[in-house]
């Protein structure tokens, strides 16, 4: 058994898992505050990464300016999307809500393909060194940055929800929409804000992933891969999303390892999380940290 490879894969899994956690957090944030399942999450990553790429290549901005510009763009984009498309869907049955986000996902995915083409593009060099050595493991610089950014985002989320007025309003809305509305919380603003935050943070994850693998429409697959993570953690738990993300990240790498060493089934990396997803839904549909629905007549 090749322990060195296994350790390397587990570390990679943790790094990618943190990103899953970040994307899952956005997903949970939107679900918790607006009760909308966002199938277009992956497209937020895609659009953010492409906008950043375009601002670096066409506008020739320095990296951090381009990064900030695309975050601003995505915040506006998320808010507008909520206002134009998702506000009319409040109170509609769940199938309609799901289909609207799926429609958005198809639309933006092909729009991006149309504008930027299908071939992957890479960002201009951001770091001088490609990879550094930590404790005998090779860690790519971009991965290191992604870990740092993911941790910063998580701390920022915590501070935002714990200590800011808007965060409190969002928690109140998630807890009881009508009560918070009657106490003067603008539910409209909360909805718009949660979509804005989700779009911005996902775009950050998209840019980081784009720096590692190049920007292409395969980024939008992340939006689907996040489902196993959030279901495992529980759909309405932000902590659960992070834990689920880490578990799924490690799991797909370990599955890939055992497959390449022993089983030789192939394609385990992509498909293993979905088997896990089905198993979780069978035995513990509300995940590790989710709240169970109790229905009363």
């Amino acid at each position: 058994m090749n322990f060195e490879l296994l350790t390397q894969l587990v570390v990679n899994g943790l790094i990618v898992g943190l990103l899953y956690g970040v994307i899952g957090m956005c997903f949970v944030l939107v679900y918790k505050s607006t009760q909308i399942v966002n199938f277009a999450q992956g497209e937020f990553l895609l659009i953010g990464a492409w906008v950043c790429w375009a601002s670096l290549i066409y506008l020739e901005l320095p990296f951090f300016l381009g990064f900030l510009l695309s975050l601003l763009f995505m915040a506006a984009f998320g808010v507008l999307l909520q206002m134009i498309v998702l506000r009319p869907m409040i109170g509609e049955p769940i199938i309609s809500v799901i289909m609207v986000t799926i429609g958005l996902s198809i639309f933006f995915q092909s729009l991006m393909k149309w504008i930027f083409g299908v071939s992957p593009q890479s960002y201009p060099q951001v770091f001088d060194t490609q990879s550094i050595n930590i404790l005998g493991l090779n860690v790519e610089m971009a991965y290191l940055m992604s870990t740092v950014i993911a941790l910063i985002i998580m701390v920022a989320f915590y501070m935002f929800f714990k200590h800011s007025k808007h965060g409190l309003a969002m928690r109140a809305t998630a807890f009881d929409q009508q009560a918070s509305q009657s106490l003067g919380v603008s539910v409209k603003h909360v909805f718009a804000m949660s979509w804005g935050i989700a779009a911005t943070v996902s775009a950050t994850a998209g840019i980081v992933l784009g720096m590692v693998n190049g920007v292409s429409d395969s980024l939008s697959i992340m939006g689907i891969k996040v489902f196993p993570a959030v279901i495992l953690g529980g759909l309405d738990s932000i902590v659960g999303a992070i834990v689920g993300g880490l578990i799924i990240g490690v799991l797909e790498n370990v599955a890939e390892f055992f497959d390449s060493q022993y089983l030789h089934i192939g394609n385990m990396y992509d498909i293993a999380p979905f088997y896990v997803l089905l198993i979780i839904l069978w035995f513990k549909p509300y995940g590790l940290f989710g709240t169970k629905d109790i229905e009363r007549i």
């Binding site: 399942v37 498309v85 009319p88 869907m89 509609e92 769940i94 199938i95 309609s96 799901i98 289909m99 609207v100 799926i102 429609g103 958005l104 996902s105 198809i106 639309f107 933006f108 995915q109 092909s110 729009l111 393909k113 149309w114 689907i224 489902f227 196993p228 279901i231 759909l235 089934i265 192939g266 394609n267 992509d270 498909i271 979905f274 088997y275 997803l277 089905l278 839904l281 069978w282 549909p285 229905e295 007549i297």
Partner: protein, 357 residues
């Protein structure tokens, strides 16, 4: 929807049997019968390309009706219908080439095989519903897709598998014109069956499960049985549709049955109208003709000086996909009840014209 349709004056119903007829009025019945007869003569009148579109409408329509029984009538969500459609296609080709069963038997058998697979993947529906079920079926979509790519004995792997044309008593339906009759017959048969299913006890149980599952359970409707049965019937329809598709094209490859296909099926029933058999067909027709209309629109644009933009002409494939997304969003925002509802409104408007009140 039946309350919306206006019956002629003096046509009162006095029994449940009359209340349960397939056709609400005799006019609708005769119009339907004449349409079917007219469609039988279609190959003599219209050109070959139109016939291929009609065949496409038939096999997609059968599969979409299955999805409507599941989503529109039972209220379960499935994002894996495209995979079941593909399973039916592969199953029929496999039964034919490996077990040498005649093709016209393969098609229903493939339907039953798909039914089994659908019930297996629909089993979580006994425990979960709504959003969780949507995600579970999304997972099954990816798992079945992966199975197609891997199981070479079944699907031929990357190379795909061949399917013989339908033949009956030595006559091969191997041209578009002759296969059209097979497709039309299957479509009519499956739609009549669907209509009758919805008039039966099981059909009413489906609707009860959709409308209020707790009340339905209290009334004695077995929830798990009907949720699973609905999955089974829906996959059966998908399997039949897929098998027709396989024997029409003569070749099945794994690439076509992606999540995009599942989404297109969902788009069809949403555009047509959830919980409406007539609407299903309208939605399928809409979705089949949408790319054609776009293509000819761009074709007309290309002729003019100002319209020949390379970006539009080259990006036609993406524009078609974007149109699907836009149509889904547009219908859900502006006409969530679909074309069937709009059609009923138009009919009522003319019935009362010029006295709209």
């Amino acid at each position: 929807m039946s309350s919306l349709s206006m019956r002629p004056c003096g046509d009162f119903r006095t029994s449940y049997k009359q209340d349960n007829t397939i056709f609400e009025t005799s006019t609708i019945r005769w119009v339907t019968i004449f349409t079917i007869i007219a469609l039988c003569f279609a190959p003599l009148v219209v050109d070959g390309y139109f016939i291929t579109l009609l065949i496409q409408i038939s096999y997609l329509g059968i599969a979409a009706l299955g999805l409507n029984i599941l989503v529109g009538y039972t209220g379960q969500i499935s994002l894996g219908h495209g995979a079941f459609f593909g399973f039916g296609a592969f199953a029929s080709a496999w039964l034919n080439t490996s077990l040498h069963i005649p093709v016209f038997l393969c098609i229903p058998l493939a339907g039953f095989l798909t039914m089994g697979v659908g019930m297996m993947f629909g089993a979580p529906a006994a425990r979960i519903k709504g959003l969780y079920l949507a995600i579970a079926t999304l997972a099954s979509q990816f798992i079945i897709e992966d199975f197609f790519a891997r199981a070479e004995w079944f699907s031929g792997g990357a190379a795909g598998s061949m399917a013989d044309p339908v033949s009956l008593f030595g006559f091969a339906f191997d041209t578009d014109q002759s296969f059209y009759y097979v497709a039309l017959f299957s479509l009519v048969f499956m739609f009549i069956w669907g209509c009758n299913l919805m008039r039966s006890r099981d059909g009413r149980a489906f609707v009860a499960v959709r409308d209020h599952y707790l009340s339905a359970e209290i009334m004695g409707v077995k929830l798990n049985k009907y949720r699973l049965l609905s999955f089974g019937i829906s996959s059966f329809y998908a399997g039949i549709g897929g098998a027709l598709y396989a024997h029409y094209l003569g070749y099945v490859s794994a690439e076509g049955f992606t999540i995009m296909m599942s989404i297109q099926f969902l788009a069809m029933i949403i555009i047509g109208g959830l919980g409406s058999i007539k609407g299903t067909l309208m939605g399928v027709i809409f979705m089949v003709f949408l790319p054609e209309v776009l293509e000819s629109g761009v074709g007309v644009m290309k002729m003019t000086d100002w319209g020949n933009i390379p970006m539009v002409v080259d990006g036609l494939a993406y524009i078609k996909e974007m149109a699907i997304g836009l149509v889904i969003i547009g219908f859900l925002i502006f006409e969530p009840e679909g074309l069937a509802h709009r059609w009923a409104q138009i009919k009522n408007y003319w019935k009362f014209y010029p006295f709209a009140y």
